[in-house]
Symmetry: C2
Subunit: 187 residues, 2 copies
């Protein structure tokens, strides 16, 4: 006993993510992940409790790519950067990204990502008691767009058209935030 480990959880998750990015979610089998690590499928169960846990871990990995925007810029601008960032992450991981719609914000990484939006909304002047709802609606719209794009709903639309759509969406959300900021500051 006391055998040195040949793989760790991080390797398992990054291998699974790479496999999903290249060949789709269906290609992420315990067998395929194990093969890429030079190990038998059963060896994975020492590092993930089952396949659901593995996929949970992979989604968690995605959240780390929502890095916080530069702290100096105004709130509305940081919000726009965050939105572009989310969309770019979706395009990098088209088959895993949609799983984000299945997860409430519970993990540290998820709270971290949400925190970035909260801070931007606060800087933009949205009153504190309005921030949670505004965040939910903005995130929902952005996620809805990004997931639609990478899941195939917009398959028949050009990249040019999608870029234009996304710009309009960001503009609309910007107006929403501005409205929430001014109507809250009035009284």
């Amino acid at each position: 006993m006391g055998r040195p480990p040949r793989i760790d959880r991080g390797e398992v998750l990054t291998t699974a993510l790479a496999l999903a990015d290249e060949h789709g979610l269906d290609a992420v089998t315990m067998g395929a992940v194990a093969a890429h690590l030079g190990v038998t499928p059963m060896a994975l169960y020492r590092h993930v409790t089952n396949k659901a846990d593995l996929l949970d871990g992979v989604v968690e990995l995605l959240l780390t790519e929502f890095d916080p925007p530069p702290r100096g810029r105004p709130g509305l601008e940081r919000l726009a950067m965050l939105a572009r960032n989310v969309r770019a992450t979706a395009r990098r991981h088209p088959s895993v990204f949609p799983l984000l719609l299945q997860r409430p914000v519970t993990t540290a990484e998820a709270w971290n990502a949400r925190g970035g939006v909260y801070a931007a909304l606060e800087d933009a002047g949205v009153p504190g008691d309005r921030i949670p709802q505004v965040e939910r609606l903005i995130s929902t719209a952005i996620l809805g767009f990004a997931v639609s794009e990478v899941s195939g709903r917009f398959r028949n639309h050009s990249r040019r058209q999608l870029d234009a759509d996304f710009d309009v969406l960001r503009g609309l959300l910007g107006q929403f935030v501005t409205f929430e900021a001014t109507s809250g500051a009035a009284p």
Copy 2:
């Protein structure tokens, strides 16, 4: 030969939908669907080409539930009714509904559903050349919310909170439509 058919495509699809609604998407196996119809799994292949085709058919079934709103009401009100309708459909079919994000509008049923939104937007005064983009963005936001709700992203929020969120979302989209209508009519 010339044997009378014991099942047809419609039965296969409705059985699959019922199974998904009651026990989730994973419960929709060829075996389970066949068992509910009193037939062997292989018998299904005469009516669907494979499992992907079966699921396609089930999603198609969902689109028929987006019935058109009463033709007499004003455009903005019909839009609100459509939105509520979509959300209600999502809640009836929580595990199948998210698949809508994977499908472009190609089938007759899908065009039908989109047509209802087009007509409402036209009545609301949105200029014809703006309608397609406005429809995409509105549908994306509504779908994003509904899928988030039934997929689990809002698991930790009360029904009351979700209803309030949805109302704010509809209000925001209503303002968007009004803006598109007035700014287009000005010149």
